[in-house]
Amino acid sequence: MTSENMADEYGRKWDRCLADTAVKTATGLGVGIVLSVLLFKRRMWPVSFGSGLGLGMGYSNCQHDFRSPYLIHGHTVKVNA
């Protein structure tokens, strides 16, 4: 890899993360609003739930993205005995 990738990667990750979180939060919010309007009689909890869901998903994705180099993927190897 070339020179500034690692440092820029960090920034890029953050950009992605934030963007993704924002999108997910907004989406959750929207879905919440929609659901609250449609199904849940304009209560607050689907909205917060939806936004929370979206935020949480975004957070989780962000975390996962930041953790990605540290994640160890295991493989099962079948040995023919």
């Binding site: 890899m1 070339t2 020179s3 500034e4 990738n5 690692m6 440092a7 960090y10 957070y59 962000c62 975390q63 930041f66 953790r67 180099p69 540290y70």
Partner: protein, 727 residues
Amino acid sequence: MLGVCLRGAHATVRKNCVRSPLTPLQSYRCYSTSRSSGASRVVALGLVTVGGGVGGTLLYSKWDPKFRAAVEKNVPYSDWLLGLALGPAPEDARLPVRKQVELNQPPSMLDKPKTDPKAKSQKSVKEAAEASGPESSLVPPPPAQSIQDECKECHKHADVSETAAVASAEPLKERPVDEVTARLVQQDQEEEKLLASLSSRLEDSLASSAKATLQAIGAQEVALQAVTQHTRKLKDAMEAEAPSDEKSTQWKELEAALAERTAAVKDATTTLSKANEALEGLKSVINQAKGQKVAAARPLILAAEENLHQMVVDLDKVVSKVRSAESEAKVVSQYTELVNEAKQQFQREVSSLTPEIQANWKGLTGKLSVDDLNALIAHAHRRIDQLNRELAEQRVREQIHIEAALEQQKVEDHKVLDAAVTTAMGHVKEEARLNLEQKLAELREVMEAEMRTQLRRQAAAHTDHVRDVLKVQEQELRAEAEQVLNSKILDQETRYRQLTQEQLDNFTLDMNAAYARLKGIEEAIDSHAVAEETAREAHQLWLSVEALSYALKSAGADSPSMPLEDAAEAVRASCHDDFCSALASALPQESLQRGVYSEASLRARFNALRSLARRVALIDESRNSLYQYFLSYLQAALLFEDQQEAPPSQLSGADLDPFKLLSYASYCLEHGDLELAAKLVNQLRGEARRVVEDWLTEARLTLETRQVVSLLSAYANAAGLGTTQAP
């Protein structure tokens, strides 16, 4: 509770403390009491042990000398002690005796084989000498003589060898062969001389005695002849009645014969005496020869003795003959004397009666007168009467006279018989002795012949043995001589080779020296050329390295330098050894293809990276949730460290904190030490490390390239320096 415990602890401690000084005291007291008796006991025991050890060592060393020697060797003053206690070591007395015995043995043993071959060699040498034959006039007895001489020599040599064996202190050496032969020849010569002298003397005396005897015999014969002739003549003269002139001639002849006889008899006696002298001389010579006991002369002696005896016998015979003749002559002469006396008497009577008538009355028959005749007849009658009376008396006294005569004859016969018997006995004895001697000589010869055969056999066996021994010796000597010869030849050869080699070496040295100088000159020239070449190359290298380093400098602020491929290629081209080419090929590929960043750009980048690293300082494998991210961000915001801090020479554990590391690194970077900065940055862990990974690789690359380039330039400088010749 605590106080109780403490009190309890104190109590126990106190108890322990109290007890602990007491018990050693108690035990000490016990030990002291037991020790005072125990000490003496121990001391006594120790003394007994030591004494026992010393005594045991003494006894055992007395019994075993090897042990004694070992002890003396290992323990310093033990030899003095042991010598004091036991006396000197016994082996020394034994060894010299043994050595002496050995010394005495080999000389005697050496003696025997030496004397045997010596005697044998001398015998063989003598045999050879005998075989080669010094000129000996005595041909018949040489074998016997040689054998006898050998025997004598053997005896002599046995004596000599015995004396040599006895006097073993003298070094034995074989008498030289020529000395031996000389001695043998000398001995032979002496014997021959002796023998020759003996034989010559014997011969001389024999010859002289023979001559004398012959002379004597001849003289005796002559005397005999003369005597017989004389007696015959006398007889004839007495008996024959011849006429007067014949008678006178007869008488003259008689006188001549008498004279002849006397002369012959005298001659005979002188010659007889001479012969006797000669015989005596011969006898003495024979006795002398016998006394000298030269064996070979014995037959000569024997012959001489026989001759002597023969001569003596002949002489005696002749002498007896002469004596008998003389006795006869004496008888006849007595008869003639008587007759003459009677005649004389008658003549006297007649003359007394008839004085006128002369002697020769037979012729005067006519001249006589009657008176004269009557007187004559009366005288004749008277004479006849007288004679008759005498005859009667004689007849009467005949017997007595005869007896007396017989006695006389007997006595004379006895005497003669005795003389004859003695002479005959002497002769017989002599003959017997001679026979005995002859027989002895024969026997001796037979014995000698037998001995000769035996000795011949022994000699044959001896020659065989000697031949074998000689063969063996010859082989040994030949081998030895060959060896000596070979070694000498080898020496000579080696010496010759050495000399030739030396010459060659000298020549080669000179040639080499000249060649070396030529070579040196050539080499100097070549080395000059080579040096120039290397200088040129070094210069080229230096130039290329300079180009490379210049290419390095071509890095911009944020862009890498130009690709170092060409410069590296140039360097590789101008490289002429492995080190340089290894270095040239050690340039990292990235630098060759892309180029490297400069230090300044890295520095600038680092500053940007620093804040980032600060921000993710807390993140690592275990802490990488977003919350941790938030916390690390908070930390970065809240923590203040020095912008630049000088790094210590040794990093401790506390220095591995990322913030500290970063400040150290920026300090290093600010001071131009990229290497140390990279090292420090290398110590970052976790996410911070991941973030600065790229920077680190870039820094590494730069550092590598720079290192290679600096090495190359150093090498080029060194090469250049090396090629320049110091004035």
